[in-house]
C-alpha cells in the first residue's frame, strides 16, 4: 500500500499481479476481445466457418428483412415493456404488503422467492404443463361448467408471448420484491411518522413520498430487469421452442440457431451485435447518470 516510488515497477506487488491474471485475461481477451471479434465478423459473409471476406452491412440488411428476426424483435419489445411494468408493480406491491409489520413475514417471503431458485428450463416446463390446453388450466375451468372458457396461449400465435410472460413473472417477481423490500427498509421511520402526523393517507405517502425517495432502488432494479430481458432464451426454448411456428421467437434464440444449426455465422454475429447494441442503449445512459455526474447519496 506504500505510495513511495521504487525502481522496479513491473515486479512491485508481483503476487497481486499474478493473482489478477485471470481477471485481466477475462476482461481483455473474452469481454473486450470476444465482443470486438464478433462485431468485426458481423461485417463478413461467414457461413460455416468464420472468414474475413467483408461484405459491409449486408448481414444487417438481410437480418432486418428476415420475418423471423422481425417477429423476435416484436416479441422482445412486447415482453420487455410488459415484464418491466409488471415486475416493478407486482414486486413493489408485494414488498409494501410484507412491510406492514406482518406475522410470518419470513414464510411469505420464502414462498414468493422460491421460484427464483429454479432454472428457466424448469419454469418453462412447469408452465407448459399448466397451460396445456387438454389437461391444464383451460381444461379444469371448462370441466367446472364454463364450457366456452378459452385460455390457450401456448398454441395461439397471437398471445403466445403472454404465456411466456406469465411464467417469467412467476419466476422473477420474488427477486424484485426482495430488492424493493430492502429499499423500503432503508427509509427512515421518521418519514412515516411525519406523514401520519400530517394526516396523509398511506397510499399517498407511498406514491408521493416513498417512491420518489426510492429512486436509486428503482433505477438499479430497472437495469437488472432490462439486462435480463435481452438475455431471455432458456424459458422460450423450454416452454414453446419458439412456436407455434415462429410466433414466440426471441433474438437470443435467433443467434443460437443461426450460429449452431443454420450454419450461417454471419447472420448470428450480426444478430448478436444488435443485442449488444440494445444493451449499450440501456446501460450507457444509466452508467452516465449513476457514475458520470457527481455521486448522489
Amino acid at each position: 500500500m506504500s505510495k513511495s516510488e521504487r525502481p522496479s515497477q513491473l515486479f512491485r506487488n508481483l503476487n497481486a499481479k499474478i493473482a489478477s491474471i485471470p481477471m485481466i485475461l477475462t476482461a481483455l481477451v473474452i469481454f473486450v476481445g470476444g465482443s470486438a471479434w464478433t462485431v468485426l465478423y458481423s461485417f463478413t459473409s461467414s457461413k460455416l466457418l468464420p472468414r474475413l471476406n467483408f461484405v459491409g452491412l449486408d448481414q444487417y440488411y438481410r437480418l432486418w428483412s428476415v420475418p423471423r428476426w422481425l417477429v423476435s424483435i416484436e416479441n422482445l419489445l412486447i415482453y420487455g415493456v410488459l415484464s418491466l411494468l409488471f415486475s416493478l408493480v407486482i414486486g413493489f406491491l408485494l414488498a409494501a404488503l410484507l412491510d406492514q409489520k406482518i406475522r410470518f413475514e419470513d414464510t411469505f417471503r420464502t414462498i414468493f422467492l422460491y421460484p427464483f431458485a429454479l432454472s428457466f428450463i424448469v419454469t418453462g416446463l412447469v408452465w407448459q404443463w399448466l397451460l396445456n390446453p387438454e389437461f391444464g388450466v383451460q381444461a379444469v375451468v371448462r370441466s367446472l361448467g364454463w364450457e366456452s372458457f378459452s385460455f390457450n396461449p401456448l398454441y395461439d400465435s397471437s398471445i403466445v408471448i403472454y404465456g411466456i410472460l406469465i411464467a417469467a413473472l412467476w419466476q422473477g417477481t420474488g427477486l424484485i420484491m426482495c430488492l424493493m423490500l430492502a429499499g423500503l427498509r432503508g427509509i427512515d421511520e421518521d418519514i412515516w411518522k411525519a406523514a401520519r402526523v400530517d394526516g396523509i393517507p398511506t397510499w399517498k405517502t407511498y406514491l408521493f413520498i416513498i417512491i420518489p425517495m426510492m429512486r436509486p432502488v428503482f433505477i438499479t432494479t430497472l437495469v437488472i430487469i432490462a439486462a435480463g430481458i435481452v438475455k431471455i432464451y432458456d424459458l422460450v426454448v423450454a416452454q414453446t421452442s419458439g412456436g407455434p411456428g415462429i410466433a414466440s421467437e426471441v433474438p437470443a434464440k435467433y443467434v443460437y440457431d443461426y450460429m449452431f444449426f443454420a450454419q450461417n455465422l454471419g447472420q448470428g454475429f450480426a444478430a448478436s451485435t444488435m443485442m449488444l447494441l440494445s444493451v449499450i442503449i440501456v446501460i450507457v445512459p444509466w452508467a452516465y447518470l449513476e457514475f458520470g455526474g457527481k455521486k448522489r447519496v
Binding site: 493473482a19 476482461a27 473474452i30 404488503l97 419470513d106 412447469v126 408452465w127 404443463w129 423450454a238 443467434v255
Partner: protein, 309 residues
C-alpha cells in the same frame, strides 16, 4: 455503498434495528388485516400452485392424468414416474434417464464452484488490499462486461476452446463458468475485503506476512460468511445454466437442464406427463434444497448479485 451491507433485514433481531414502516397494526380481525393477510395468502397460493401441480402430476399414473384434472390429488400414489425419469426416460436414442445428466451436472458444478470462487476471492483480495496500477481499469471492464449478452461472446470462446482441445469436454465448460462467474464474485469479494479493518492488514504486514500469508491466515478465516454466500450463488447459478451447457458440451456430457429439456420436448413417442414432471422436479431439487436450507443467506447472495456498485 458496499455490497455485503445490503442485507435484507427480516427476523426479530434485525427488525428492531431497521423498524418496518407503515401504520401500526390494530385489532387482529380489523378490515385492514383481513385484506392484508387475505391478499398475501392468495398470492402465496398462486406462487405455490405450480410446485403443487408438479408434485401431484408426478405421483399419478397416465390413465388418471388423462381423466382427471391437474389440481386433484392423486387417487393412487405411484413412484413409477420418478423411477422412470431417473433411470429410463428417453432422449432420442438414449434411454438411460436423467441420472447421466445429474452426474454430469455434479461433475460440472463442483469444480466450477471451487475454481470460480478460488479465482475471484484471490482476485478480490488483490483488488482490495494490494492495488497496483491499472488494476481498477481491468476491474471496471470486468463489471461492464457482465452486462454484455453472452451471445456476443459465445463463438469466440468456442474457437478458443477448440484451439486448446477442450471444446465439448466438461473441463471446457468449467472454464466457461469460471469466466462468467468472475465479475459478480470478484465484486462480492472485493467489497467484502475492502470493508475489513485496515489495521488488521497493516499489522500483518508489519509482522512480515506476505500476499499469500495474509490471504490464507487472516482473510480466509475471517470471511467464511461471504464464501457461503458465493457458494450458494454459484451452485444455483451453475446448476440452472442451460445456454453454456448446450453450447459447450456434447450429448454424452450434457448437464441435467439440457437433458431435461430434451426428454420433455422430444417429439418422439407418447407424451408421459407424469414422467416429465418427475424429471422436472428432480432437476429443480438441488437448487430448491440449497434455497430452503440457506434461507437468508440466499437472499443476501442475490441482493449482492443484483445491487451492483
Amino acid at each position: 455503498m458496499s455490497d455485503h451491507t445490503v442485507s435484507l433485514p427480516a427476523g426479530p433481531g434485525t427488525l428492531e434495528a431497521y423498524g418496518p414502516s407503515g401504520p401500526k397494526p390494530r385489532h387482529m380481525f380489523s378490515r385492514r388485516n383481513i385484506f392484508l393477510y387475505g391478499t398475501l395468502i392468495v398470492v402465496a397460493l398462486y406462487y405455490l400452485l405450480p410446485l403443487y401441480v408438479m408434485v401431484v402430476t408426478s405421483l399419478k399414473g397416465m390413465p388418471e392424468i388423462r381423466l382427471g384434472n391437474i389440481f386433484s390429488p392423486p387417487m393412487e400414489i405411484t413412484f413409477e414416474p420418478w423411477v422412470k425419469a431417473w433411470s429410463s426416460a428417453c432422449t432420442g436414442l438414449n434411454c438411460d434417464g436423467l441420472s447421466r445428466g445429474f452426474w454430469n451436472s455434479v461433475r460440472i458444478t463442483i469444480p466450477s464452484v471451487i475454481l470460480s470462487i478460488a479465482l475471484a476471492s484471490v482476485n478480490g483480495y488483490a483488488l482490495a488490499n494490494w492495488r497496483f496500477k491499472g488494476a481498477d481499469t481491468f476491474f471496471i471492464i470486468l463489471i461492464v462486461g457482465a452486462f454484455i449478452p453472452y451471445q456476443v461472446m459465445i463463438y469466440p470462446i468456442v474457437i478458443i476452446l477448440r484451439e486448446v482441445g477442450l471444446y465439448g469436454s466438461l473441463s471446457g465448460l468449467v472454464i466457461v463458468h469460471s469466466i462468467f462467474g468472475m465479475p459478480i464474485l470478484t465484486l462480492l469479494f472485493r467489497n467484502y475485503f475492502t470493508s475489513m479493518p485496515e489495521e488488521l492488514f497493516r499489522a500483518a504486514r508489519v509482522d512480515g506476512a506476505g500476499f499469500w500469508g495474509i490471504y490464507f491466515r487472516i482473510m480466509l478465516p475471517m470471511s467464511l460468511p461471504i464464501f457461503v454466500v458465493a457458494i450458494i450463488l454459484q451452485v444455483t447459478g451453475i446448476w440452472n445454466d442451460f445456454l453454456f451447457g448446450v453450447v459447450y458440451t456434447r450429448p454424452d456430457t450434457y448437464p441435467m437442464t439440457v437433458q431435461l429439456n430434451n426428454i420433455v420436448n422430444s417429439v418422439q413417442g407418447v407424451k408421459e406427463y407424469n414422467v416429465n414432471m418427475a424429471a422436472t422436479i428432480l432437476t429443480g431439487l438441488v437448487p430448491l434444497i440449497v434455497y430452503f436450507l440457506s434461507g437468508k443467506l440466499f437472499v443476501r447472495g442475490i441482493a449482492a448479485g443484483a445491487v451492483k456498485g
